[in-house]
Amino acid sequence: MDNFTVGVVVFPGSNCDRDVSWALEGCLDIRTKYFWHESSDLSDVDAIVLPGGFSYGDYLRCGAIARFSPLINALDEFVKSGKRVLGICNGFQILTESGFLPGALVANKNLNFICDDVELDIISSKGGWFNNVDEKQTIKLPIAHGEGRYHCDSDTLKKLVDNELIALRYKNNPNGSSFDIAGITNEKGNVLGLMPHPERACDETIGGTDGLFTLKSLILK
């Protein structure tokens, strides 16, 4: 993949950073570089992944403390420049807390930590994060979260629908998310946040490859 490099951000409490890096390097031959959350120089990476985990122990709210890291401050310019940012699970929570994506993620309706495979409908092609949406397509990805219930007010929901910002919806809503939302993009399409874990679905030996396309699309311009 030439010199294209994906930065994988590591917060204290991140635990999917190695998985993301493994999936990108081992399955897709895309170079990665770990970034400690105190870094603010993102000049030598072409895309960023905020991985899953429990940044800062999920203290106060999931993603609330991570939002104040130097790296997240530097992300503003990165996003404005049009480069791609993928927030997975805790990364999605950080993107909503820091205002890159609208809404918030709160405790699952049934209070359980849900670890399961879920079927998802691809709703929007914005940003090109998902393959072939000419026909309604369903993919299967793993979820693993206790606080993945997407919540937003009705005005925000209308905006999400009208502007085609809803990327993924659960077929069988596992957590009580508004409008079955599992993933959304920003208006430009270069930022995607989702609760399911594409990096855990990149090899048949671990149960599927439906996550490959999303990770591979990090290299899209």
């Binding site: 106060l60 609330a64 405790a107 209070l111 219930r149």
Partner: protein, 84 residues
């Protein structure tokens, strides 16, 4: 400099489902408590803070509440302030 004790209350907005509150309500009823119509769980944050007078301290607390203590997408906050 004056010192103030501040108590911040952060609550889920009424429109946001509180499953932990619902579970606690259910347990309260099992305990035998009667008449509970609603039970919702919030957070209380205690802060001791210095500043030049109440207005300056209120400005700082407003910033903290709005940007950190509460996520105003899902939560409301209020606080009380006592000069020490």
């Amino acid at each position: 400099m004056d010192q103030f004790a501040v108590k911040v209350f952060v609550r889920l907005r009424p429109s946001v489902l509180d499953p932990a509150g619902e579970a606690t309500k259910s347990a309260s009823i099992k305990l035998g408590a009667e008449g509970i119509k609603s039970l919702r769980i919030g957070k209380m944050i205690e802060v001791k803070i210095e500043g030049n007078g109440e207005n300056e301290v209120r400005e700082k607390i407003d910033l903290l509440c709005d940007r950190l203590f509460a996520n105003t997408v899902i939560e409301d906050y209020e606080y009380s302030l006592e000069k020490l």
